[in-house]
Symmetry: C2
Subunit: 223 residues, 2 copies
Amino acid sequence: MILESYNNQEKYLVSIDCAIFGYHEGELKLLLFQREKEPEKGKWSLIGGWVNADESAETAAARVLHRITGLHDIFLEQVSTFSEPNRDPGGRVISVVFYALIVIDGERMKLSSEYGAEWWPVKSLPTLIFDHRQMFELSLERLRQKANYHLVGRELLPETFTITQLRSLYNSIFSKDFDPGNFRKKVLSFGVLDRLDTKDTSVSKKGAYYYKFNEQKLNESEN
Amino acid sequence: MILESYNNQEKYLVSIDCAIFGYHEGELKLLLFQREKEPEKGKWSLIGGWVNADESAETAAARVLHRITGLHDIFLEQVSTFSEPNRDPGGRVISVVFYALIVIDGERMKLSSEYGAEWWPVKSLPTLIFDHRQMFELSLERLRQKANYHLVGRELLPETFTITQLRSLYNSIFSKDFDPGNFRKKVLSFGVLDRLDTKDTSVSKKGAYYYKFNEQKLNESEN
DNA sequence: TATATAAAAGTATGGTTTACTTTTAAAGAC
DNA sequence: GTCTTTAAAAGTAAACCATACTTTTATATA
């Protein structure tokens, strides 16, 4: 900003809130925290944190994510900024919203106990505080946009996976059933998956090949 | 934000910056202000303003736009928030960026003289201060996304216009030449344009029909 | 060896995009 | 009055892509 004085202007608290998506047991899930004090005690919220003096909102979000998950280099994307004057009854807080994608494995499931965090299926979320429901909905919309022209499996699935598992992930992101044959054709046409020699035989007698993302081809297709 | 104390946390200045796009003489243009004092004297910037205590960023942007253009209900969309700690040498300022679309007519051209504002062709912009170049580029990207599945003529063209004029607008937004026949077919297939009985004969001997947006059909196609 | 399962491959159709051609309306030249 | 010229407008044919559906395949288990 320029032209107007910096000194007479009011300042506000600036926070980040983050919709953390994961995929577990065939469902898209959202990591939520339960509020422990009044007001809104017992209600759930997205993960949030303040933006410190030496940080951008992006850095703050990455820091909060690292503190909670122990992971570095988490996929993170800015969604929107929420700034209604009375959105937070505790004071004037402007919040920059992000969404993050993480792979849920055994380690990640322990989050629940340590931080009072819990994974909720996006299809049946509890009541969220403030404007967090709207933040979630916008985040899911952005995730869908992203998933339309990018394969998001690498951020949400284990390192190796079958096409069927990838399709299940997409089914749960878009809340619809993709045709198995067409889905296979489509994702393979991206040309960023390598087929391994091993198969998953737990579902079918024939067995489904495992695939993994080819990082080089991913970069070439300018992700 | 919850869980952490509101009181010990630092507060920051919050501003909005707005990339105002217009269309004039066959070119997509951006409205810029020339900075009058050091530092960065003589350099150009997007239009900006502070977010007041009783305003959301959206409201602040609309207020600034109204002050500068005299127009109400300007098309306005949030792009992103810029929050690098040292992005503004004058202090810690977090800026929410918007882009706006306005019709440039005689009245709007006067802006220049009154506010030191000037319309610049997006193809040859001057050096911008701070991170404003990046703000512009992100804004243009969003405008292109928008124009892909929405006809943006109503926000940028006079009330009546020919298909050729609309195509020229799209040519300048996307920096490429659309095929006349295919473009016509495409935009008419949206089903939101009404053909008038009058023609523009200034360009061709045959004359091109004028069109206008049908507000009702626009609403039905849930814009 | 037969059966059952889902994976994987294949096919046929319809719709959309793209590049290109033809026809049209009307102003201005002759 | 007829001819020429212009870009608008309409039309066409091929290429491409999405979708629904069918057939073949590999393999564990009965």
